[in-house]
Symmetry: C2
Subunit: 403 residues, 2 copies
């Protein structure tokens, strides 16, 4: 489910707060704290970029040694703390240490997230004052404020949740995310914190998170660029229990995938300059991995996305993008439809243009979401990817990001 951002709350056992510490201009919220009432289990998935920001390297280190006993996440926007060398890593460690000191826990129990401009050092005077404020009672309390504090070029906060029953107990999953540009697998370039009161050890959380990310955040492309800071954290406040039943873990993974998919769709919809969400379903591939390659190839095609923006049913671009994805394709078996399942308009059948009404096709491309369905006619592999249309506004946003 998509949670209403204004009434959004974290899962039981977690609190959130946010302040404006001055990293972002105009007094916008830019520092968020997510804290657990008790040490909780955690897992993370991180960018595959070889240029990794200091907080990514730091969090990987913390989770390697201390995943069962995390107490807090401190997150700033306005500065990515990437390409900042040993000084940047010292800044990340200091963020964790200051947060830990205020909360009365160990620095090795605090995770750090940063997002914003690459290549600039954090203003640690502002950050230190911000951490003092956000850990005090004066901070704007609540998850909606935290969800806003991690945004950069996003136009709206992204929150989602799912509920399920595990071992006879109701369990909540509640998460929020940011991301609008530099969005591409692996993984969708963003930050996300997902909380749950499920009782799961780190290994189970890791398995569930990897599976969920593979079918949600890793299926989003805004601009084909992959960031240095991508991080999804999953924190579980449930009291330690015995072995987890296989079926409970499967149910949890499914619910987590649902919540992450909602966040991923919200990220694509809020892509820089976007006016609508585009959902690309590929079926009939030899396997799921090949279906994903094709869907991803279409999702990252600037030509497909500009055509959608203009409502131009230039379907040859979709076929061309599929053809150079690297997946097996038989051009004579391709079938392409626009619109969702109940109301699909077939525009290519077996590789050749079908008789379709151009105006009707154009109108499907102005829907929000736009649905493209490409069937490869080769097998049972299926995958869905999300992107957005591509407008001139994307260029305007990105031509002067740091100046």
């Amino acid at each position: 489910m998509t949670a209403d951002a204004a009434s959004f709350d974290l899962a039981p056992g977690f609190r959130a707060a946010a302040v404006a510490c001055g990293l972002k201009a105009g007094g916008a919220l830019d520092l968020a704290l997510i804290s657990a009432d008790r040490p909780c289990a955690a897992a993370g998935v991180f960018t595959a970029n070889r240029v990794k920001a200091a907080p990514v390297l730091y969090d990987q280190e913390v989770l390697a040694s201390n995943a069962p006993a995390i107490r807090a996440v401190i997150a700033n926007s306005g500065c990515a703390n990437a390409c900042t060398g040993p000084g940047g890593m010292a800044d990340t460690r200091r963020m964790a240490a200051l947060t830990a000191e205020s909360l009365g826990c160990g620095a090795e129990q605090v995770l750090v997230l940063s997002t914003g401009v690459i290549g600039r050092r954090l203003d640690m005077t502002k950050v230190a004052a911000g951490i003092a404020a956000v850990t005090s009672t004066g901070a704007q309390m609540g998850a909606p404020a935290a969800a806003r504090a991690i945004l950069t070029t996003d136009t709206r906060p992204k929150t989602a949740g799912a509920d399920l029953t595990m071992g006879g107990r109701r369990v909540a999953i509640r998460g929020f995310a940011k991301g609008a540009g530099m969005i591409h697998p692996n993984m969708a370039t963003m930050l996300s914190v997902v909380t749950t009161d499920a009782a799961l050890p780190p290994a189970a959380l890791r398995a569930a998170l990897r599976a969920a990310v593979a079918r949600s955040f890793n299926r989003v492309s805004v601009d084909g660029d992959m960031s240095t800071n991508d991080t999804v954290l999953l924190l579980a406040s449930g009291a330690p229990a015995g072995a987890v039943a296989e079926s409970d873990l499967a149910a949890f993974t499914a619910a987590l995938t649902e919540a992450c998919t909602s966040l991923a769709r919200q990220i694509a919809r809020d892509g820089e300059g976007a006016t609508r969400l585009v959902e690309i379903a590929v079926t009939g591939a030899r396997d799921e991995a090949e279906a994903h390659r094709v869907a991803d190839g279409i999702a990252r095609s600037s030509l497909v996305k500009t055509a959608i923006h203009g409502g131009d049913p230039n379907w040859g671009r979709v076929l061309a993008a599929a053809g150079c994805s690297g997946a097996a394709i038989d051009p004579d078996r391709l079938t392409l439809a626009l619109g969702d399942a109940g109301n699909a308009l077939t525009i290519v059948r077996n590789g050749l243009p079908a008789a379709f009404d151009e105006r009707e096709a154009s109108s499907r491309l102005r829907d929000d979401p736009v649905y493209l369905h490409l069937d490869l006619g080769l097998g049972d592999g299926a995958a869905t990817a999300w992107t957005c249309d591509f407008s001139a506004e994307y260029v305007t946003i990105n031509a002067h990001y740091t100046t």
Copy 2:
């Protein structure tokens, strides 16, 4: 050398002509004929897209059986004849047959090129009349007209040449190309015909062409999209001779690479919406292939290209693009400079921002060409790639291409 498009001519032994047959609106030239006075040797390199246009499949067939005795190339713009099924293939064969009939040669001696909108059938009534006209004396004779007739969204013709001595004889290489959108390796999405009066058999031409394309057309990206129609043809009119000396073939390959590089740079400079050429030199990679991956990753980054458009020295995007290229990178060894070799401004040294004047850096990004030089500090591998800046005009051009 960049040949002046107005006085451009093919190599000795070849003639060109062009007419407007009505495939393009407004009476623009849209059908070109390149003919050889005698049967000549030929080689081709084609798109790696699995969705291949009819003329690509047809030319591959012709060159497989008849590469030593080609007589003509017939080329149209305004319609790509891609995704057109068996009917489209019949149209391509008919173009070859009609051309052959007029010229008095066999259809299997005629190569065909098409470019334009994907998924529409050729208007063969117009094409047939055009072939009758272009093979008659009434056609606008000359290579400059042919170079214009293959353009689509290009704003200018692209011509180039190189000269060398082989076996004591002066040899000319003269070529032209089109391409502005859907440009990406492998190979740069375009059409090109290169002629020479060198005496080389098809196998030598193939080897030289593959080597030249690898370092020229395959190093250009405008938008990361790969077309269904990419074709480079090399035709050699030299009289059959004995075995080719190794050193002559090396000299020919170097000269051909020079001519193709000039065409590739012209394609990048004329990328849809482009206001300047961007040359990306990567050095210090483990090998040339890895250097190419990094240069290509930077060349296709929308974020890098929009930043250049805005004159914004947002160098973190360059490092992030390098980091997700898949090549080996040590972030602490990256050095980035703007400007050409004699006048370079270092902005990142060993992964950290150097002390540089932002205004000076911004001014380097407004040069034409813009030079980026990234040194990886790992080995001797080097490669250069070309792209263009990314403006809002790209979106305008592509949002309504068929409507």
